[in-house]
Amino acid sequence: MSDPVRELSATLARDPESEAFLPLGEALRRRGDLDAAHGIAMRGVERHPFSAAAHDLLGRVASDRGELDVAYDAWDAAVSLDPTLAAARKGQAFVRFRQGRLAEAEAHLREAVALAGGSDPETDSALARVREAALADVMGVVLAPVVTPPDGVVPHADPARLFADLTDMDGDAALGAGGVAALFVDEWGTVRAGACTDDAGRDVASEVGRALGDIGGEASGAMRHLALGSWRTLHVEAERSVVAMAPVDAGGVVLVAAAPATPLGRVRRLAVRAAMRARDWRGSPA
């Protein structure tokens, strides 16, 4: 099978002025190669300063890198160049939501809804969630994070079984039974796919995802400060489990938890494979 990144790189090398940097940057971003994606997006913006799509790409990459202010500015530039670009409005809403600036997030989403002619269910849903969060904020209630990020998590027939064929070697997601659990936790700390139960069969996916999901941000920050590039895997050995994680995109992670006796290499490989699947799932058309 051909490698689209290689083909797009070759196209861009042959014609540096082409817009091949757009799908190339996006492909690298989805692959999790954020440094390379960032380089491509930056060069794209330099060569095509009046391209809204170029600034939109930079916004997505910067958002994935956790550079929220850079992402916001890039999307702001995109909107200035093309006021009809709803994706950039949603991107701005996403940043403001992450920053806790809920009124601004709502304003951006309202603009995105208007651009969609009021018929975009995903944006409507995000708007409703921001309003819930704003209300909860006023009332001092902590809600699970909620707005769908710019490029959206698409519906899936049964997200709980997204990794079933990878992890159900023994048909069990309970660690105490020797099973392996895999979860995709998005940048909002919400479990989007996968399953995890405790020894009693109780669903503990949300608890585990909430506790472990945002270590990815810590890992990303450590790698950046130590100039070790983007992080690829993280594994933690604890008393009752081995946990391996791999980045998906936009700060989301896949985590795989297994009983301590499980070979570390297997857990790590599972995390990498599950991250690739989550990336495809997240990026696949609805």
């Binding site: 585990v208 472990l212 920050g221 400060h225 070790l228 933690v236």
Partner: protein
Amino acid sequence: MTAAARPTRNPYQHVVADIMRLRGVQGAIVVDAGDGIPIASTLDVGVDGEAVAALAASLFQRAAAATVAAGYGTSAYVQLEGERGWLCVTGQGGLVLAAVAEPRTNVALLRLALLRAREHLA
């Protein structure tokens, strides 16, 4: 005759020296887990010891808190793989031992060395 004052030997220097003997290891450091301040270190030129200390302590503490919160018990070892190297961390008794290593390092050997050295941290 009064005993001459002698410099106090750092009890953790041999721990980091042992880790540094492994091929590919660029720095080893013992850190106070509470404040991220280095206690003993041996680092190649260009490795920012204070950054390694602070980040390793923070990552280990965070992972430890998270695994407890997830019901998996306390953490003994954290291994972070980056495009250009490894950050491996263990800890015990309020101390953290971290190593930064090149991508081609035999990380399995490094893990074993760190877990053995962990016994000397208490």
